[in-house]
């Protein structure tokens, strides 16, 4: 899965979690919790669902890397590459 596909996946999951928002329009460098008014339950749901779809278990200590769209894509790319390698 390339970066664009990862980004689309994350945006899709965010749309499910926060249907009243427009995740596709967020600034990829800004904290998603601010951009989309997400709380800790939303964050956990994001990590859970994205993790399920990719088969990646994101531990709590890595949560900070999932907080912007940009860093989330980078983090997940790395995890997938590591798994493949």
């Amino acid at each position: 899965m390339n970066s664009d596909e990862l980004r689309d996946l994350i945006v899709e999951v965010l749309s499910e979690i926060a249907p009243e928002t427009d995740p596709a329009a967020v600034d990829p460098t800004e904290d998603l919790r601010e951009e989309l008014d997400l709380d800790s339950m939303d964050e956990l749901n994001l990590i859970t669902r994205v993790g399920e779809r990719l088969g990646v278990d994101v531990p709590e200590r890595d949560y900070p890397q999932m907080r912007t769209l940009e860093s989330a894509v980078a983090y997940l790319s790395g995890r997938l590459a590591a798994r493949a390698g």
Partner: protein
Amino acid sequence: MPALGAGMDVGRIVAWHVEPGDLVHRGDIVALVETDKANIDVEVFEDGIVEELLVEAGVKVPVGTPLARIAASAPETAPTGATMAAAPELATAAAGSEDAAVPEVATAAAASGDAVPEAATAAAAPEVATAAAAPEVATAASEGGSVKHDLADAAASEPPAATSGALDRSGGTSAAGATPTGGPVDEHPFVTSPLVRRQAAEAGVDLTRLRGTGPAGVITRHDVEAAAADLGRTVAAGVVGRATGPSVLPAAEPLVTATSSSPYARRLAAERGLDVGAIPGTGPGGAVVARDVLEVTAEPVPPQAERAPSQLAERAPSPAPTAEPSKEERAIAMRLAIARAMERANRDIPHYYLGETVDVEASLRWLADRNADRPPTERILPAVLVLKATALALQEYPDFNGYWIDDAFVPGEGIHLGVAINLRRGGLLAPAIRDADQRSLDELMAALRDLVQRTRSAGLRGSELTDPTITVSNLGDTGVETIQGVITPPQVALVGVGRITERPWAVDGMLAVRRTTYLSLAGDHRASDGHRGGRFLGAIATHLTRAETL
């Protein structure tokens, strides 16, 4: 139309889930109601049969408007559901009679010459329905030994039911429409004691028109007294009185009498020496309601007078037994009281505020260790630690767990934490996680996840909005550090939790960095004072610092 949030004025039924003739049980969802915040599933609070839907879907009505008429059948005190099974059959058999289930059977039993059906009750099949009636009966029987003959006469003189053939004597099935099994007639909800029969006969009260409010639908002395009062008659003193229902509810009274009227109207009429039957009624189905009585005496109608009958018409008061009110009766009374309190405009609650910064470093480390071994679906959020800590503290400080109603504190039935959930489209709802003190952290987490999901999409139930005994407001993720919340009436407290932040902290004279959160308490000064509030807040803080004990 129930008040599903403080300040709610109107609601619109989006869809009905029941039709006239449907059998409903306590807790069943009967309609989807749209409020300005969310669509809420509205439940019915008693067992019964839907008689009529009074408001159509799509119509906006003010809070307090009766939505439907439900003929309450006997409470399902029997595990076998014997009484429940009886009701629907009788309802269909007694077409045209407003008090469907009871009267037909009552007269049939009387006419069958069973002068002392209650004695047979004790000896009947082991259905619990009869056992429920037995205590009431045993007392009366011991006192009414000599009146059996009188009762036989009184009973025989009552007109036989035209539809005795349709009587359902099911003794052991629980489905509506059960086939008759020929069980003894004493299993039916109309059963009453010899003494009560005598009192009714002497006072000229027609037992066939009464719906019993005793256990398993037994007609009690209070039912007869209330009916007699309507007729302007008195009932001879007999059995030593026992406590009636909770003070919030009117005393045990039949919902329907010879002239249809609300219990509140009957009381107002009795107080004024009026014959409620002679007053023109403007309530549902022409029933006499409180304002009708007050109009006769040209009194101004206080807001409560207009509220009470609609509340009662919408949800029939639960049967108040002649013994101590049961948990469920208190719960229903509580719901009525809460609904009334919430209907009023947000009254000015005299707030006081307290706060404390809590070092939660140890608890968060404990949580991290615990979550590290678990997949995301099994991890627990810090918010859950706060919920459990609050619930445990409320066990120690129950004076913060309840309501301020009618100038007094009323303790909650259980510890039901209202969780403030932000609606992204604007607004806030705070539905309850019930019995939070009884749940493990995992269970609380699952309940929280489910509640948040349903609050933000669909499927929230009306009872969840009226259940909270206190509210916890947790803006602690990316929000502000401190909260000075507003208490939701009729609750008496609000616990606020701020963002978890790292700050310098003194530990044994040395400087350390600890993650902390600011806990705040907003208290209703009528119900508690700052000193007590401070201790309560301290208890929450203490629990919160010991996550392993939660």
